[in-house]
């Protein structure tokens, strides 16, 4: 056996660190680079400034991007998380790839993208985990944190069957059309989706909470226990890794001290390179090299590996900067146009089965200027209500739609914040549009600025509806509240699963 030998792992470790930094940076930044230009893509539209995806100063500071393709181009280093096209061939996560193949067995592209990572794993084993996985970087960071806390590390046995159960469950569930189980079970996908969700989709709260829960569970049970005992992708690569070509091996087993197991202690996946074979889970990270007092380990076409140092700077960026910018983005955008906070048409089939439509629109004009050059701010909010009922008559001969009956009598509105009514609005009759023959809208200007979470109550109208109808002011990025609850759910469930996994792992043999 020949040619390929890595003797001193130093260059190897530096290279891996570099790849990890680039991978994490690109995952964090790529949605920004590709997606920032969406922030004002429709500035011509009536409500173009309604929903900034980013704070304006952040958007302005970013370089121009050609199109959304740039997101893809920049995330190629991670194979785009779940899947990406590279040189015309698509790569996907093997577990998601299995799902893809199961869902669409006739698709040649799906098979190719499923088999390619598999071939890489056959050659190099779990190399993805140590070199590219962003959750791997997070867990290394948490590991560094935990090593400074007075907590015992737990020995995890080398036989860890729980992950194969999870792999089987997520694959089988995918075949049944429950693919989100796979996305939730694979931490790096959940992490990447939540970063992407925060930047571009305005939310990702539940997913952020879920990943945060895993990090919390990792902090007290051991950060790498998830990677070692539960990760379905890791389990898949480990299955392939049994047969791999490139391995970490002892140079000379007899040269080791009789009780020395420094390399075992350094292994982030709780493997045992000191036995001469680090096992199928080794990811060629070469951490054990640096622990060996006799420099007695090498990578050759035979056996074992390891992975990254904590990357505090990158991780601080990931864990602090990205969420905090999302936090900061809330409600702080300079708005020159009215912001639409309620825009909802509700269909109530209450009047003897006949349609009853109640629509409410609320414009936040708190920062709206009279024109582009004016500093004068309009302020307040505009509340619009329409109540239509009955069936719509058929179109006339010219194809014009006919109006429903609209409520024309008195109407009461309330603006409610946290249970307390801020504004009572009374209409005797519809007020808008002015200067037209037919008025259908109840429209009023109120001084209260309707904020996200406030409610507009349309009070009961005799003979139409009996209970007040509640319309909630929504926000472009929701899900912040969700994150906390789901962080607790995640922490509890992950702690439970990790405890089971530790309890069920066994030493080899």
């Amino acid at each position: 056996m020949s040619g390929f030998v890595v003797e001193n792992g130093r260059l190897h470790r530096w290279l891996r660190g570099l790849v990890q930094v680039v991978a994490v940076a690109l995952v964090v930044v790529s949605p920004l680079v590709g997606g920032w230009q969406r922030t004002d893509a429709s500035s011509l539209s009536a409500w173009g400034r309604d929903a900034y995806d980013l704070p304006l100063d952040v958007a302005n500071a970013l370089p121009p991007a050609a199109d959304g393709q740039a997101v893809l181009d920049h995330s190629r280093v991670l194979f785009g998380g779940t899947g990406v096209e590279l040189f015309g061939v698509s790569f996907v996560d093997p577990v998601v790839g299995a799902a893809s193949v199961l869902r669409a067995p006739g698709d040649v592209g799906g098979w190719a993208s499923f088999l390619l990572p598999l071939l890489v794993a056959l050659l190099l084993g779990r190399v993805f985990c140590g070199w590219l996985c962003i959750f791997g970087v997070v867990s290394r960071f948490v590991d560094g944190l935990r090593s400074r806390l007075p907590l015992h590390p737990y020995e995890v046995g080398e036989q860890r069957w729980m992950r194969f159960v999870l792999l089987a469950v997520s694959t089988v569930a995918s075949a049944w059309g429950l693919q989100h189980i796979a996305v939730h079970a694979i931490a790096y996908l959940a992490l990447q989706h939540s970063i992407y969700g925060m930047w571009l989709l305005g939310g990702g709260g539940a997913l952020v909470g879920w990943v945060a829960g895993l990090v919390v569970a990792g902090l007290w049970l051991g950060p790498n226990v998830y990677c070692a005992t539960l990760c379905p992708t890791g389990a898949f690569f480990a299955l392939m890794g049994r047969f791999r070509l490139v391995r970490v091996q002892l140079k000379d087993a007899n040269a080791c001290g009789p009780t020395c197991h420094s390399c075992d202690l350094r292994c982030w996946l709780s493997l045992h390179p000191s036995t001469g074979d680090a096992g199928a889970d080794c990811d060629n990270c070469a951490r054990c090299f640096s622990a060996c007092p006799k420099d007695n380990l090498h990578i050759t076409t035979g056996r074992g590996e390891r992975r990254g140092r904590p990357l505090p700077v990158v991780m601080a960026m990931l864990l602090l900067v990205a969420p905090s910018m999302t936090w900061a983005a809330d409600g702080n955008e300079p708005i020159m146009r009215p912001r639409l906070v309620v825009d909802e048409m509700r269909d109530l089939h209450t009047v003897a089965g006949a349609p009853l439509l109640v629509g409410v629109g609320v414009l936040d004009k708190s920062q709206t200027r009279m024109n582009l050059y004016s500093d004068l701010v309009v302020g307040g909010s505009e509340v619009t209500v329409v109540v239509g009922h009955g069936e719509r008559p058929p179109k006339d001969a010219r194809g014009r739609l006919q109006m429903r009956q609209t409520h024309q009598g008195p109407l009461e509105l309330k603006v409610v914040r946290r249970g307390a009514a801020l504004e009572h609005i009374h209409f005797d009759a519809p007020t808008a549009p002015k200067s037209t023959q037919r008025q259908t809208l109840y429209r009023a200007h109120v001084e209260t600025v309707v904020q996200v979470g406030d409610e507009v109550w349309v009070m009961p109208v005799d003979s139409l509806f009996e209970k007040p109808l509640v319309f909630r002011a929504h926000e472009p990025r929701s899900g912040r509240d969700e994150a906390w609850g789901w962080a607790l759910v995640g922490a509890l469930l992950w702690s439970g699963l990790l405890s089971f996994a530790v309890a069920t792992s066994r030493p080899p043999g």
Binding site: G34, G35, A41, S42, S45, A46, W47, D67, G68, V71, L72, G80, T82, G83, V96, R103, A104, G109, S113, H152, P153, E155, S174, G177, Q179, V183, H193, Y196, L200, L201, G202, V342, G359, V362, V386, G399, R400, L401, Q402, M403, R404, T406, P433, T436, L441, P476, S478, G479, E482, G485, W486, V489, A491, L493, G496, L497, S499, F500, V502, A503
Partner: protein, 222 residues
């Protein structure tokens, strides 16, 4: 007299002792796993009863969301085919593709939908190319093909709200429409009329100046 061990040394050795990996007590771990899993499940179930899914798009009872172009028409089949990879939203040029939350079970967690009032589809058709499972089938980026193949939804006008119907001349929806005369035309004086060619891109809804919007894209009924 023996020299007492300095405090620092003692602390260090204590720390080393503490940091030695210990074999896990299986019984304890199994029990605590049980406790955590049960507590987590109970809390998750309680949260599910409290579920207050916030989304921008307001969907009526049983109403289906507008999916990206080329999506499988039957929504259950679409949800089964979608693997929640998020690639369609990633390549989307206008950012109109959004995703249901991870806790939005009703419409499929992390499945794509269009919020056209916020941002409409620019018909770049990149999502159809990238989809790995055929949940979105590929469509060429040529207007004749798009006109033929894309049927995301159909615009609906509310004459009770439409400014033109109420007595003024507006026509914003017509000016915004990418395929005027085939998808939307104005009847004099300026009444918008949606035609069979409507593909559901939602430009009209995005540009409608009325609140609540007088024109909105709804999923085509079967």
């Amino acid at each position: 007299m023996a020299k007492p061990t300095p405090m620092r040394k003692r602390l260090q050795s204590g720390w080393k002792q503490l940091k030695k990996p210990v074999p896990p007590d299986r019984r304890r771990f199994f029990l605590q796993g049980l406790v955590f899993a049960v507590a987590g499940l109970a809390f998750a179930l309680w949260k599910a009863t409290q579920a207050r899914v916030q989304r921008r798009v307001v969907l009526g009872q049983g109403e289906l969301p507008v999916r990206p172009p080329g999506a499988i028409v039957d929504d259950d089949t679409f949800q089964a085919a979608c693997i929640h990879c998020g690639m369609c939203g990633m390549v989307c040029e206008s950012g109109c593709i959004r995703f249901f939350g991870a806790n939005d079970v009703e419409h499929g967690p992390v499945t794509p939908y269009l919020d056209v009032r916020r941002r409409s589809c620019v018909l770049c058709m990149k999502c159809t190319d990238i989809c790995p499972t055929g949940a979105l089938s590929p469509i060429a980026r040529e207007l004749p093909v798009i006109k033929e193949e894309v049927r995301m939804g159909v615009a609906e006008v509310d004459p009770e709200l439409c400014i033109s119907y109420l007595g003024r001349v507006c026509g914003f929806c017509h000016d915004a429409c990418p395929i005027p005369k085939e998808a939307l035309r104005l009847l004099p004086p300026a009444y918008p009329q949606v035609l069979d060619g409507c593909i559901g891109c939602g430009r009209c809804a995005e540009f409608c100046p009325q609140t609540p919007t007088a024109i909105m894209v709804k999923r085509r009924s079967a």
